[in-house]
Every structure is written in structure tokens, then in C-alpha cells.
Amino acid sequence: MAKGEEVRIFGIRHHGAGSSRNLLNALDALQPDLILIECPVDAQMLTPYVMQDLLIPPVAIMIWDKNDLTRYAYYPFTSFSPEWQAMQFAKKHDVHVRFFDLPQGISFVLPEGAIKTGKMQALTNDPFSYMASLAGYDDPERWWDSFIEQDHDGFTIFDTILEMMTEMRAATSYEKSSNAVREAFMRNEIRSAIREGYQKIAVVCGAWHGPALAIWQQQKTAEDKALIRGHKKVQTACTWVPWSYNRIARHTGYGSGVISPYWYEALFEDPDKALSKWMSRASQILQSLGHAVSPAHTIDATKLTLELTRIRNRNRPGINELFDAMSTTFCQGDESLIERMRVKLLEGENIGKVSDQIPMVPLYKDLEAAIKKARLQKDWKNQSLIEKHLDLRKPTQLLASRLLHRMFLLEIPWGVELEPDHNPLGNFHEYWELQWVPDFEIKIIEASIWGNTIVEACHKYTMDKINEESQFSQLGQVLYTVLHADLPDLIGPVSDRIRDLGNVSEDVLLLMQITPPLIWSLRYGDTPQLNTSSVEELLDQLLPRICILLPAAVIQVADDQSKHYFTAISQLHHAIQLMDRDDILNRWMECLQKIAFQNPCNAIVKGMALRFLLVKEVVEVDQIYLEIEYHLSTIADPFYPALLLEGFLYGGGWLLIHRSALRDIVDQWMSSLDDDTFMNFLPILRRTFSTFTSSEKEVIYDLLFGREKHIKTSFSVDTERQEIARKGLNRLL
């Protein structure tokens, strides 16, 4: 430094609140004319946006390979990140800022550069966490706090860190080759900054790199240049994207162990007030969860935290003290309540903002255009719940439906379709619930790795997903969505995948559950224009399999499962009627016959099969009645008759009205019950009869006891019995 230049290395902890405070002091003391920040140089064009105040952290730099969007990297910043604060300092004091790390375009293709794993990785990214754990600290920020207490001039701490890191690098022999290239590049950048005439340079980098950068003079320039030269480089693009505390807490681009962004934010703002700020926040959250928490509680919790900190010989409370104190004061030792708070308190829901003036990722632009076309701008980013009815005969609403389905496919569930099966015949209406969640912004950006347009992203993402997915109930949903999202090219692959999985699946219930949506899809809106032959092929394989597997599956069904079977069979039955395919219908009827007349068989399912057969008139009526009468008289399982009737009569009061013989059978059976048995059955019978409409009930009542006495009962009962039955029916109806 013959010419009197000064280069100061500030080794920081990424997202370290303590680092940030010290860095600001140091920058203040140094008054640099250039700040170098460890960030890829090919993102340099993004710094002006920080200077123009177009961002509210947490935000992240996203860099991607222009030609291969699956290659991408994020560099997140929070308000308490040292790098962010360095940029803020630069803005305030009008200092030049430069990113000086190896271009991401090289890192992407550098061996070992893109994939980051292992213990060593954790060490190089956050040596402080490692050192803190060696010193017996669970929280690196607290270790930092205790470590820097004697910092006077603002530089001492960074000099100490440099020394420590030099020792650590010497002690750990392993060094990533990509790190060597990066460090050579950064040294070179320092040299060129000197050549350009900067006098006081502040270098802000992850502490691990400190020692390697400090030797920029000793290291031979030619050697560094040799290291940098000759690497492949891909073209990159970059932009600012909003980020969330949630994501910072879970994973960060730097891999630093940030535990609780909110706590660190509070620590950065004012370490002395952090505790009370945190506790107030906690009590607000508890109140929002419906628990009575008074300021007195908050004060008590704060006091307890301080005492606990003292007993544990800490200089400042950490996350553990906070949570221990809260669990006793706020939650009466109820750990489950604490768990509910944990997510909210540790990760927080804070989401950053990026101004519209900043260029967006291509997918985002495409989405915005699509939203405009579908006239959904009003609901876009609206966080309240909106119900929406779409009439698919209108072109814009059809577009809206497709867009919502496409977003659903990308797992951005802005809209959730309500009961898509509620009316399989009226296919022109869809009912949606729309609700925007701020996190979707980030999801859109994440989805952009799959493509630059919504359609492209849907394609690539779905293709990737179906090959990973082994749950084929999920795939049924995917195929349904694909059909409704107007993505014809995906129909074939998804159908094939379902067929492959379906062929090995023995779970007939699942098979039944995914089939009806497929059938409806065939009749959906304008799907005739689509090539749905692959779906038909799929159905041709699925339905026979169901018909083979079903009878055996319903012999023994657990009570809680029988409801699922009941719904699935009934839905499938109605869907098959829509298909207009005699061969399939016949097959299905054969299957129902097997179920109806096989013994043993689950009662509800059997009842339902009998009913379908009766209605379709495939079997002699007498045969059906005989079967019912026979089962009503069984004594082995007292509940069997009642459940059988439930399956048979469910929602079908008209059967009792129009089929007098059937009515007689039921009437006779009910009258033959003794009081206790009847009371036992009452809940089930009631459940059955409650599915009748009130006019149906009235007619049945009249038919049995009312004015129209011409109905003959073919049996005689004593009056007392009849009275009971009457009372019973009365209550039921």
C-alpha cells in the first residue's frame, strides 16, 4: 500500500444482526470510497435499484441461466443483513458499491460450484455457528454478542475475526476448488479497484473468505489470473424478487443458520429493547390465537427471561430462554400451544416488496398478461376470499378457468375449485374461491425455473412431477386439472402414467375415486375438440379392473371405510351412465349383480347394489325382494338389516312410494322388531329416512297410516306392535 491506499477486510456472518451493527460502526470509522460486496458481478446492474429505494426487504437477487432456467441461484437479504446495511450505508454517504464475486455464469458450470453439500459447506458458509457451538452456545448471534463486547474502534473485532479465520483455515485442510477460483477472482477485483484509483476500500465478505482476500498483495497476480482463466461461462440474467422471513428461516442462499428473522431484526434495531419487543409480539400472537394475555403476563415473561439468562450465565437471552419463559408464563406448560406459536414467531410472515419498475422474470410478465386477458386484474393480489362463478360459454371466463387450473397445476392455488363434481351434467359452470397469499409471488418466481410462459412451465413441471409421483390418487387430480387447463399435450403422458401405476395398484377404492372425474372430463365443455382418446383408452383399462376387483373388496369392509365405498360406488355408477357405452355399462351391471347376491358382503354396499339393479331393471324384481327379505330376517348380526336398508333406501324415498311390495317388506320387518331392537336401530334408520324429502316422507306416512286405507297390508299384527311401529315411523318421518 505504498500509495497510501487502505483495504479493510470485514468478515461478516451472513444475516448476522450483530455483524451488521459492527459493520456499520466500522464503515463509519473508515469512511470508504468504495464498498465491495460478496455477490456475483453479473448482478451488478441490480445495485442502482437499492440506491433508488425501490425495494423493501426481505428481498433476494435471483440469477438464472438464460438458456437453461433450471439453473438458478438466490441471494436473499434482510434489513439486518450486513450486505444490505452496507448498501444502505453507501446510499446514505454516496459511496460506490460493487459486487465482486465470481460471475454466477461461471459458478453455474464450475465443478462443485453449483452443488453445495456437506459439513464443510456449513463451516465455510457460517464458521461462526461452528465456533459458537464449540464455545457451548446454541445461538451464534449470542456468541457474537459476548465476543465483541470489547470492541472500541470498530476495527478490532474484524481484525480478530481475520486472525481466527486464518487459524481455522489452517486447521481444516479441505478447501473447495471452486472457492479457490472465487477467491482469486475477488482478489483480482480488489487489485483492479486500486488501479482505478480508489483510496479506501471496504471489503464485505463472508468471514471464511477473509484471510484469502487479505493476501491480495502477497498473492501473485499472474497466478490468480491463471486460476480465473479458461472457465466456461453461461449467459445469465438477474432481477430482484420479493422474499420472505419464512424462507430465510428455512433455507438461505448463503446457507447461514438464521434461526429467527424476527428476533434478529429486533436485535439489530436495538439489542436492549429486543426482548420487550419480542415478548409484546408474542403476546399479540397469543391474543390472536384466542388466549387471554395481559400486559402483566408480558412483563412477567420478560422478567423470567432475564432471570433465566442470568442463571444460565449468559450475557443476553437467546431463543431458548425466550421460549422456556413463554412456555411457563403464557402457555401454562402446554407445549402444544408453544408449537403453534413457534412457526409464527420464529419464521414470521413478513414478505418483502419489489417495485414494478424493476424488470420481472419472464414468467411473471406472461402471467400478468394472461390475467389481463382473463379479466382477473381486480382479484389479482386481493387477499380476501372471493367467490367466483365462471360461465364457460363466455370466452373470457373460459380463459379465466383455464388460467386458474394452470396455476393450480403449478401449485400456486390462487383459486380453488369448489366441488368440481357437484353437477356432472351441467358442465358450463364452475364455482371458485379465490384468495391471494403473498407467498404466491415467490412461488411464481420459483415456478419460472420451469419456463418463461405459463404453458411452458406447466408442461415441464407436470412432466417432472408425474414421473416423481407414485401416489396415483394425486395423478387423477392432475389429469383432471390438465384437461381443464387446456393442455392437450399433457393428456397422453399423464394418462399413460396413471395406467402404469393403476395396473399395479390393488386399491380398488382409489381406482374408483379417480375414475368419475375422468369420465366427466370427457364430456366437459369443449373437450370434444381435444384429443381425448388416451383418456378413453385409460378408462377402458381402469373400468374392467374395477369390475374385477370390487366384489372381492367389499366382502369385508371396516365401518369407517364403508362410507367411502358407498360414495365412490355411487359416483362411479352415475358417471358410467353418462358414458353412453353399452359394453361398459353391462360389465358394471354384472359387477353389481355379483355384489348384490354375494354372501357375505358389506351391508350398505349390498343394499346400494340391489337398489341400482332394481332401478335399472336388470334383474327380476322378485329376486331382489327375496334377497332383501332374506337379509332382513337374519339374526346373526343385529345391525345388518338396518345397514342394508340404509344402503338400499339412501335418498330414495320414492322407492317406498312407488313399489308397494317393497314398502310391505320394510313395514313388516319394522313391525316385527321388539322395542329394544327398534331403539337400537333408531339412529341408523333415522339417518336413512332423513335423506328423504319432506314431501316423500308425507306420502309414505299417508300410505301407511293415513287417509288412503286402500293399501292392504298382507300381514296381521297386534295393535300394540302397530302402535310401536307407528310411533317409530312417526319419529322417523
Binding site: 402483566a296 423470567l304 422456556d324 419463559a325 411457563t328 406448560g333
Partner: protein
Amino acid sequence: MEVIRLHAEEQYAEEIKALIKEDKDEKPASWQMSPQQVLTYIMGGKTKKGVTIEPKYFGQRRLVELAIATLLTDRALLLIGVPGTAKSWLSEHLAAAIMGDSSLMIQGTSGTSEDAIRYGWNYAKLLQEGPSQEALVSSPVIRAMNAGKLVRIEELTRIPSDIQDALITVLSEKSLPVPELNMEIRARNGFNVIATANDRDKGVHDLSSALQRRFNIVRLPLPVDLEEELKIVNYRVKELQGFTSAPKKVIKEADIKKLITVFRELRSGQSEEGDIKIKSPTATLSTAEVISAVNSSQTMAHYFGYDDANKPIAESIVSAVVKDATKDQMILQEYLETVMKSRKGWSSLYKSCKEVLDGKG
């Protein structure tokens, strides 16, 4: 005169003395040692000069830290947990370490009256002299307030709710009015309450929310694993044998491990390997019951000269588990068949249990 059981501060007088002597840290008002030393006393370790401190509590350190810290704040401490989680044990030792006196204690029962918590009258004096301070009979609470000490209330939730609420003034105002004498008793520095309560048993009265607010609640869990429970059992069994005349024949640790495993499995409803579901019997089967089961099997082995340890262990398992004759018996039988029978090295215990159980049926 020999007493059966010594107070904690008597039994561990040496340890307490050593801890006080070496205490360098700041002591809170009227505490006899600093919070750090209290922690050492409870969790065990060595003092700087090498005096061994036996561990008194084997659970998580953070819970004890929390308990001690609470006693330094305005709030009182409530230790809560199922029976046998060392609540009373911890409360006694806390009082012994902090105040050197664990004797100020109220045992909560359904018959505990307000007099026991506040004050009563010496009626002879009351009739003779009229209401006076001399005629007042102080409860342990008042004595603790006057002396600035800790008072322990055992089984707080057994006390009827309206009587529990007599504590509210004491805890919030730190004073107790005596309207008859037109005066109030005010607590000195250092006064606080340690209460224990269990939330499993029948016949408990929940705390009113007003009272609950005045307590910091620390929930003491059952021992996390076999090793922790074994430590507790070994320690307590050894200690109990100090009180009663010690049986010479000691049951081997491997057998004690088996016994604990049986209790743990029945308690948690699954086998230690986690692969078999087990029904839980009506009895709580806490660590305290394990301890008494170990004790009784040792005594039996000693006095009745069993050569085979399995027999007395089987006896104590059956007597501890089978509380409800038909239901528990079936549960135990199921356990024997599904879990114990197929386990390696357990066949003789299985046989003994079967014998005892069949003998019962």
C-alpha cells in the same frame, strides 16, 4: 431419637454447607446460596474444591433452571405433572437449597380448610383475651411470610377451588389481611410459594384463572428413556434402603431394567422398539411405582429367600398393573403374549408372570 425420614436439608447438610462456603456469585435477598449453586445442588456435580454433589433430579436441566428463575420473579412456582414425576421431590430440594428449610409445608387434601392456608385461632386464648395476636395460630404460609421463606403446598389441586383462592391475595399483594385484628401480615423479601399438582388423578380441582395467572407453570415430564429412568430408580432405591433396614440380596440391574421396560411399555402404549401397539392399564405406572415395585421385589427376595429374581419381580408387576381385576388382567395377559413372550432372554420372566397371573385368575 432416630426418625424414619430426614428432611432434605438434614440429609444433605454437608453438601449444602460446602456449596454455601464456596459460593462466589451474588445471592438474592434472603437466599442462602446463589441460583447457580442451587442448580448445582439439584443437578449434581462437583464444587470447585472437589466436594461431590449428588444429583437430586435426573430430568432436563432447563426445567430446573426455569423453576429456579421463576422463584426470582414475582410469580410463584407450580410444578405440574403426572404422579411420580418428582414434583414434591424437586420442591422439597429447592426449598432445602434456597432456604435451608423445607419444613414449611401444607399438604393439600379435599379436607384442607382455609385456616390451614391463612390462620386459625387458639380458642382458649381467644375466649380469655379476645382477639389478639397471641391468640392467632399462624399457618405455614404466614410463618413463611414473616420469615421471608419459601412455603410448599403439595397437591394444590386437591384443595377445593374456593379455598385455593385464599392464596390470591398472598401471591398478588404479598400480604394477608387479618380483619379481626385490623391489621395485615406482610411478606418479607424472599417469600414465595412452590406448589405441586398433578393433572391425571381423579378428584382434582382446577385452578381458577385468577390463581393460575399468579403461577409460572413448569411441566415435569416422565423420564424420556430407559437409562434416565434406571438412574432415578437406582438412586431412589438406594436411598430408601437407607431409611429401612436394608435387604442384603440385591436384584441385578438387568432385572431392574426389565421391570422398568415393562412399566414403560405399558405406560406409553407401545413396545420400546415401537412396532407393537399395547393397551394401557388403568394404573398410572409412574416412576414412583417402579421404585416401589423394585423395593418390594427386593424385600421379598431377601426375606422369603427366592433364588430366582423373576418370581418376586413378576409378583410386583402383577400387583402394580392389575388394579381393575378383569380389565387390567386382560391387558396384562395380552402384553405377555404379544410382547414379552417372543423377546429374547425374557422367557423365565414371562413364565413367572404367567404363573402369578393364572394363580390370580
